[in-house]
Amino acid sequence: MRQRRYRLLRGALLVLAALLLQVGVVADLRLFDAAGDLLLVLVIAIALVEGPDRGATWGFVAGIAYDLLLDTPFGLTALVYALVGFLVGAVGVSMVRPAGWWPVVIAAVAGFLATFAYAVVGNLVGIGEPLGGVPVVALVVAGWSAVLVLPVMRLARWAVGTTEPDRIAMALPGRLS
């Protein structure tokens, strides 16, 4: 129980640190008028380390935290990050344990698709973002995600890593028997 509490505390501190770095520094490091998304990288890393269940949960938490500081509709980031956490975790689990360059590839693809998902869902709820500029933004986010995912996975393993198997991962057919 105590271990679990420490993990939650470390995870919350990691999300807070990523949030402050994102809005304070990373958001200003623009390339082709787009910035990386450190919180998204954190969600991807946690999902790869911990699986879809905890990936979705921490995705939701990180998204809510980011939403509190943005001017876009509240809950939009939480929804997208929770989905990304779940899907990345599920992909990671289906590969037994993504190692080598696979996390980099998964992070790049996840970053690219998450940006599109954000723009599409955002348009559905009325942020009116023209989709023409999204591919460039998605490429920049994908690049940042690919570069940062390995060190962030180390941090995620330290902060929220556990030996307990992910509940959804255990429930997937043909796994962990």
Binding site: G24, D71, A82, V137
Partner: protein, 280 residues
């Protein structure tokens, strides 16, 4: 990898995912409706975290400046050239404009219309650009403690930048003119025709719905200023944009103007907030 732990039922995990998605969608519904409790929580968190974000920005500024230097050097040179040419042009126009401005101020006072030059302003520094790729807002270092309030217009010497969308004691968020949700009533400076300009995203021109007939002509280069019509959120006469082309809209029944904002909102360092709470 073998585990002795018994496999838990799948339903609990699915239930958690379903709950998370439903919670997100519920929050999104509140967010889209901009319910007061969400706004209050955001303002509260902003009040607590903005000073910390400021410290992080100060620490990261040298790194951000170095990044800008590396990635934006070519653009900076081009912009310098362009600005030098514009400065020469502006100097020549300034003399005749000062006389016209004086006459406008006198006329406005004579007919008791609010004159832009009479509105008190608060100068502010831009402390950060958009906080995400789909945000169209910047942060400034002045807030309610300095007399700012939500909906006050934000300008530079070049023209309209946006409006205050959120304000805490020491900081404020400025919704930029390029935000797809931004609307401002405008007047074509040459003809006096009225319209509503709306943002279309970063680096995209504004679209201006007018009541003009598609056969009417509006010259490219015509200036647009805030209309300041009754209950307008902006005082009359703030330069907004320059027409770059016209096209028919509403099935060919009306004329739509495409206009380039006069202010480059990507490169702002300082702005002025007009302490105007006229309408909106």
């Amino acid at each position: 990898m073998a585990l002795s732990r018994p496999r838990p039922r799948n339903t609990g995990s699915r239930a958690r995912l379903t709950i998370l998605l439903l919670a997100s969608i519920t929050l999104l519904t509140f967010g889209v409706r901009d319910v007061p409790v969400v706004r209050d929580v955001r303002e509260g968190v902003g009040t607590v975290l903005d000073p910390v974000v400021g410290v992080v920005q100060d620490i990261g500024r040298p790194f951000a400046n170095a990044w800008d230097g590396v990635t934006g050097y070519g653009e900076l040179e081009e912009e310098n050239e362009r600005l030098r040419a514009e400065l020469d042009e502006a100097r020549s126009g300034a003399v005749s404009e000062s006389d016209a401005t004086r006459q406008l101020a006198e006329l406005s006072r004579a007919v008791e219309l609010p004159y832009l030059g009479d509105v008190p302003t608060v100068a502010a520094t831009v402390v950060s650009g958009p906080r995400s790729n789909f945000s169209h807002a910047i942060e400034i270092d002045k807030g309610t403690d300095d007399g700012l309030a939500v909906n006050m217009p934000v300008v530079t010497g070049g023209g309209l930048v946006g409006r205050i969308s959120r304000a805490t004691g020491s900081n404020a968020t400025v919704e930029l003119i390029t935000d797809p949700e931004f609307r401002v009533g405008v007047r074509v400076a040459d003809t006096g025709a009225l319209g509503t300009a709306e943002g279309h995203g970063r680096d995209e021109p504004l679209a201006v719905d007018t009541g003009l007939d598609p056969d009417d002509e509006v010259a490219a280069g015509a200036g647009l200023v805030t209309s300041g019509v009754d209950r307008s959120a902006y005082p009359a006469g703030i330069p907004v944009a320059e027409v770059i082309e016209t096209r028919s809209s509403s099935g060919g029944l009306a004329l739509e103007l495409v206009a380039e904002p006069l202010v480059d909102v990507d490169t702002l360092s300082y702005v002025s907030v007009l302490q105007w709470e006229g309408g909106g």
